[in-house]
Amino acid sequence: MAIPKLACDRERLRQSLDDRLSEQQEEILLQHLAECPACQHELERLAAEQAEWSRVAEVLRREAAARISSAGAAGTREPACDSPVDFAVAFLEPSSLPGALGRLGDVDILEVIGHGGMGIVLKGFQQELHRPVAVKVLAPHLAASGAARQRFAREARATAVVVHPNVMPVLTVHSSGKLPYLVMPYVPCESLQQRLDRQGWLETLDVVRIAWQVACGLAAAHAQGLVHRDIKPANMLLEKGVDRVLLTDFGLARAVDDASLTRTGVIAGTPQYMSPEQARGEAVDHRSDLFSLGSVLYAMCTGRVPFRAETSYGILRRITDTEPRPIREINPGIPEWLVTIVAKLHAKDPAGRFASADELAKLLEQCLAHVQQPTTVPLPEAVAAIEFASVEARLTATAPPLSSSRSRRPLLVGSILAGLAILAAVAGIAIRTHQDDSDERSKSPAESAVSAAPSTSENEARGQSALSVWQDGVVEQIRGLDEAVEQLDTRAAWFWDDDTPSAPTNNQTNAIQSSNPEAAK
């Protein structure tokens, strides 16, 4: 493969160390780095002084040795890591209900639905009210931390003030006990994250329908002066059987005027869906949620997150400094107007986004009508206006170089061809990374037991659909394959969370209250 030769470039190394290069730039640099001892040395020097390298290595070596010897001795101090079921049973009171694991307050606990960084979620039944409920319990190690308890209580308070069909309600809160917990309605559903893991990208109709409902729920929260701050697919629940989307996990939500808490310098939330202002640790307002929603839209359109990197820090860098790969390069089936809506949500400057979730919701509602009835309902004028503005901007940006190189057409064609070759190479990389991602996800033993075969063929189909940029003819065939795979997949069971291989579930529908793994840090 023809990768351009690279001269030693200290600034490049520095940028890569800070995760500031694009995926493609980095690929080229790493090739060079492998063969250039001078750059290897320079890179180490940029990361830390020689003395620091030695000190850290020495400390970690000693620590590793100490752990091995203390593991051999009796009575290690490290607390045993219980399975969620053991943990759940350990703190429950006995229950009189046959088949129940135990009792928590007035709720008989039937089973463990799942667990995440913040705690565990249990399925329960309230006998007095005769209704199934989901109970979210804060993890014991977090219950000892003031900050985590505050966050937990805040989730309850924040959610309680937002009453909306697209917001998951909290029924009761018990925050004073040893382990604080929330009681919510039990809703058979899967999260959008699970849906994306299972299915890859979604059809335009589903993308718009889901985005519209999330925008409605967000508008209700914003109307209360509340910023969600953790908008991501894992926090959007898709109810089974009906087309309803529920926005959940207001654990990071904060009132806009709560200034002292908004800038603590701690990364709160999932970096992948953060806004640039969050990534920089600046104060955020409701428009931050709109950026995150743009990233969710991107993920629904393409099946992958817009900003990716090796580290959370690298992800933050990409969010603040780079534009994601164009949506239609990955999925040409997405209409241009939807791309422009995502682009507007992804404006780095909050002022460039939609003014409010409400405005977005109204727009998406009209778009939805258009997608459902394309011949009778036109696209809303507002969308056409954004589209026009962005096309115009692109034209003015590219026009001068094109006209000036007209006399050197052969050269131009040559460079376009070279560009295409690079694009093709990049697409190859994209496919591989995408498959790696999916493979990693399906490593959950429970999941692979159920859906190993369909998910493999799905990966292939996804990979090919990315290629279809260059092979228009096969797009339809691949679409057909995708649909077949979808049908296969809907019969498979889905699970709580991709990082919970032990999720002990054998029923097909879960009530999910997703927790945020970041919070444990």
């Binding site: 160390l17 000892a144 820090y313």
Partner: protein, 201 residues
Amino acid sequence: MPQPETRPSLIVRLKGERNELAWTEFVSAYEPFLRRLIERQGVPERHVPDAMQQVLVAVARSVDGWQDDGDPASFRRWLNRVARNVVLKLMARERRQIGGQGGTDWLESLADVPDAGGEERETEYEYELVVWAAEQVRGEFLDSSWKAFWATLIEGRSVAEVAAELGVSPGSVYMSRSRLMARIRSKVQEVVGRPEESSEV
């Protein structure tokens, strides 16, 4: 028992919003490290929140001694210095008193204990800080990056061999371990504060 919580507004009579913000930031950066340190000193689990509170109170109590030296981040640098001293005292004190006793008496009036100082203790503090930072940072990276870091730096294996084993390019092994190193370094600095005001990143 209600959990003790750090209430900056109650403990610290701070002048101005900026310092209150600095305090909040300080606590959020310091608390996880402190928790680990206290646990590793052999404090019984149920006393850990107490111990942490005591340390923070001791730090806060000294706040009257702070004077703005006019340089940037004066308050924050001062906080780090006081906290470090208090933690060193804690480490010295528990050696003498903790053996088997259950109460929290040993924690009280930390602020009154003379400075333990001592090079050995200081080294131990730095040691704990590096171990803590490495553990914190590990979760931010892909597992293969951590393995590349560990195998080449700690176990001293060759880059080519480790890259082949992990199925990654040798270039990415170099990059991953340098990123990890840089991250550990900056994590340590989050707690102890930067040596001097370094340039904006």
